[in-house]
């Protein structure tokens, strides 16, 4: 169980939705947006009812691309300087140990990322998609997940994988080219990485529809209150048809799914402004569910907002789009060269908002840590890096004949024939076909 249960404080405001599905049928949400329903256990004000009204004035087309991070639209609980600030709708109240644990996660996840990048540079990985700069969005949202909540990642969610208990070395296997996954998605409640952009948002939505059909929304016999799914994707993916279809499906079925968009400002070389003319979180309104923008470099806010969205979903409140406003501090992947398309000054500006530094400052200011803490963390971080490096270097190549296995639940005669023929062919080499 996640150690951060039940610490989100929010205001109780009824949402305008009830679950759809076998257990409970309600009018479509748009039909009567003010029908009161029993309040979910925790909730917040995502958007006002007037904002949901179809008569609300649209964004002026002349406004152009918007990517403001200022003002009330951005949920923030920790300033870049590490000052604890308060938001009218979201808050967290963690124990000292939990604050330290969050920082520890951030540090270790970054260390995994740095080590993997180095291994790629040394030729041990084919490629690596760095999460540098996005640690808070991933750890915050990842730690908001309960054990049963199912996450559907892209290929960059190494921090969420960490929170879900997937061994980082397993992730490296994929980027080394030794596997296409390596963990059991059902056991970890963490789907395999999805590389084709946006596809997984529909998978998460379908999974969430299954939660409804299983009656696993709302209070359960064992005293718990339901399950949720979360779909990770990025600003680039928001343009894909699949993502927009997922929004439609989730809305129509009132599926218990959270769409967690890490807007890291860049889809390889393409800025977010080339994908959208309104802030991404506002797109949710058009689909009929709330959207919220959170400071994705603020681990506390990312945790609070995701936690709330998940609880809304699991208790029948339907989907939420969370736009975690963050920054891809590194390249798209190790094959990319961002100096060709973006200014160094932009990176420098975002470095001032580094997700680790602000949490560290917070811990200092709150006097939650001492030098022993940092010393131990450094030791643990070094040990983790050493283990990853050793494991990567020692990782065996898979048996070539494994290619043929598991393509089907029931192997076909054609593949049996190809497997046997290729096996004989390899045996014809002096070294058994090993290179």
């Amino acid at each position: 169980m996640c150690p951060y249960e039940l610490h989100v404080r929010t205001r109780l405001v009824p949402l305008d939705r009830t679950p759809r599905g076998s257990a409970a049928r309600a009018p479509p949400p748009a039909a009567d947006p003010v029908t009161p329903v029993p309040a979910p256990r925790v909730t917040r004000r995502p958007v006002s009812l007037t904002e949901l009204s179809p008569t609300a004035p649209p964004e002026p087309a002349s406004a152009g691309p918007t990517s403001s991070t200022s003002g009330a639209e951005l949920v923030q609980l920790l300033t870049p300087e590490g000052e604890r600030v308060h938001h009218p709708d979201y808050d967290v109240d963690l124990t000292d140990e939990q604050y330290r644990e969050l920082y520890r996660d951030l540090v270790l996840v970054r260390r995994i990322d740095v080590e993997a990048t180095a291994l790629q540079r040394q030729g041990e990985l084919g490629i690596w998609a760095a999460l540098l700069g996005q640690e808070a969005a991933q750890v915050g949202s990842g730690r908001a997940l309960r054990e049963k909540d199912f996450a559907f990642p892209t290929y960059r969610e190494h921090g969420v994988a960490w929170c879900k208990g997937v061994d980082p070395l397993t992730l490296l296997g994929l980027f080394r080219g030794a596997s296409n996954g390596g963990w059991d998605p059902q056991e970890k409640r963490f789907n395999l990485y999805t590389i084709v952009i946006g596809s997984q948002t529909l998978h998460a939505t379908g999974y969430a529809m299954g939660i409804i059909k299983d009656g696993a929304v709302g209070p359960q016999a064992d005293g718990s209150d339901g399950e949720a799914a979360i779909a990770y994707f990025g600003d680039g993916a928001s343009s894909q048809g699949d993502v927009n279809e997922a929004f439609v499906w989730a809305s129509v079925y009132n599926a218990p799914v959270v769409f967690f968009c890490q807007n890291n400002q860049w889809g390889i070389s393409t800025p977010t402004a080339a994908q959208t003319r309104i802030p991404l979180y506002q797109r949710a309104l058009g689909f009929g569910f709330p959207g919220v923008r959170v400071d994705g470099n603020d681990v506390l806010a990312s945790y609070a907002v995701t936690r709330h969205a998940l609880d809304t979903a699991r208790t029948g409140g339907g989907p939420t789009l969370v736009e975690a406003f963050t920054y891809r501090m590194g390249a798209h992947t190790t094959s990319d060269d961002p100096t060709r398309y973006r200014l160094a000054s932009e990176l420098e500006a975002w470095k001032l908002k580094d997700p680790l530094e602000r949490m560290k400052s917070f811990l200092y200011k709150q006097q939650l840590v001492d030098s022993d803490f940092f010393g131990q963390l450094q030791t643990d971080s070094d040990a983790l890096a050493a283990r990853i490096r050793k494991g990567c270097l020692e990782m065996p190549d898979p048996d070539p004949l494994l290619m043929f296995d598991d393509v089907y639940a029931e192997m076909t005669p054609l593949l049996q024939e190809q497997r046997a023929a290729f096996g004989s062919y390899l045996e014809g080499f002096a070294d058994g076909g090993h290179r």
């Binding site: 030794a178 590389i195 084709v196 048809g241 070389s269 190549d397 290619m403 062919y425």
Partner: protein
Amino acid sequence: MAALTMAKALNEGLRASMEHDPKVVLMGEDIGKLGGVFRVTDGLQKDFGEDRVFDTPLAESGIVGTAIGLAIRGYRPVCEIQFDGFIYPAYDQIVSQLAKIHARSRGQVKMPVTIRVPFGGGIGAVEHHSESPEAYFAHTAGLKVVACSNPVDAHFMIQQAIASDDPVLFFEPKRRYWEKADVDTTMTPDPLWQARVVREGTDATLIAYGPMVKTCLDAATAAQEDGRSLEVVDLRTLSPLDFPTVFASVRRTRRAIVVHEAPSFVGMGAEISARLSEELYYEMEAPVLRVTGFDTPYPPSRLEEEFLPDLDRVLHTVDRSLAY
């Protein structure tokens, strides 16, 4: 005459097409400032402006769908699909719309859309970055499908594809992007819809396209040391397929081996084999054999050398053919 990589030869070809026809526009993900992930469009946005070379939102169906609209409006769009495995979100627009509009309009609406697709494996990439989807498109009436194998062809074939009034899927062997050849940009190229005998031989014909042409040429060189003379045909165009050139070659050598990275089942090799058996049944000494990727998903890259046809597997199959 300059030695150009295939990527640069394509770049120069695109440039020539854009200079020749102001209706040619390039569109795709990251093709502008970045110049494409393989740099094939490097510098073109700078020289031709953002109206003619533009980054699209990240949506492949959108790229092809809007290209169709631009074509209806009189433009000649050249779409880049960033990697082979990303073409499937656009599959509906390509197969249901792009391929059929000319026929549905009884020729009133032309679809001069070129879709460039870096394809094939061999670069150590992760999933969906090493696929060979050409057969899906060759199977679809209304589409033309070509694959270049060297910088010279790349340079001219891209211009010919763009000039075509039919939609063309243009497959570029990504692992050959950085191989160089002297390109005389002033020469008169072969017609686009022709195969070419790229090495003459007498004992068997290797039939290939795209990345496998070089593999077959290497195999032919190796076979020569064993006293075997292999002919190599570069198909260049997969749909339409230049059967006369293929038949003429196999009529001479009496043995045919088709080589491609794509899986064998219902692949290009199956069609070529069927046509050869129909046309040259009494003249061949051996059944048509195939050397292909296996009928499995493309494997993790540490296994791709086993998956992909290589010199050893080609020669092994030549031995089998000659044993008949």
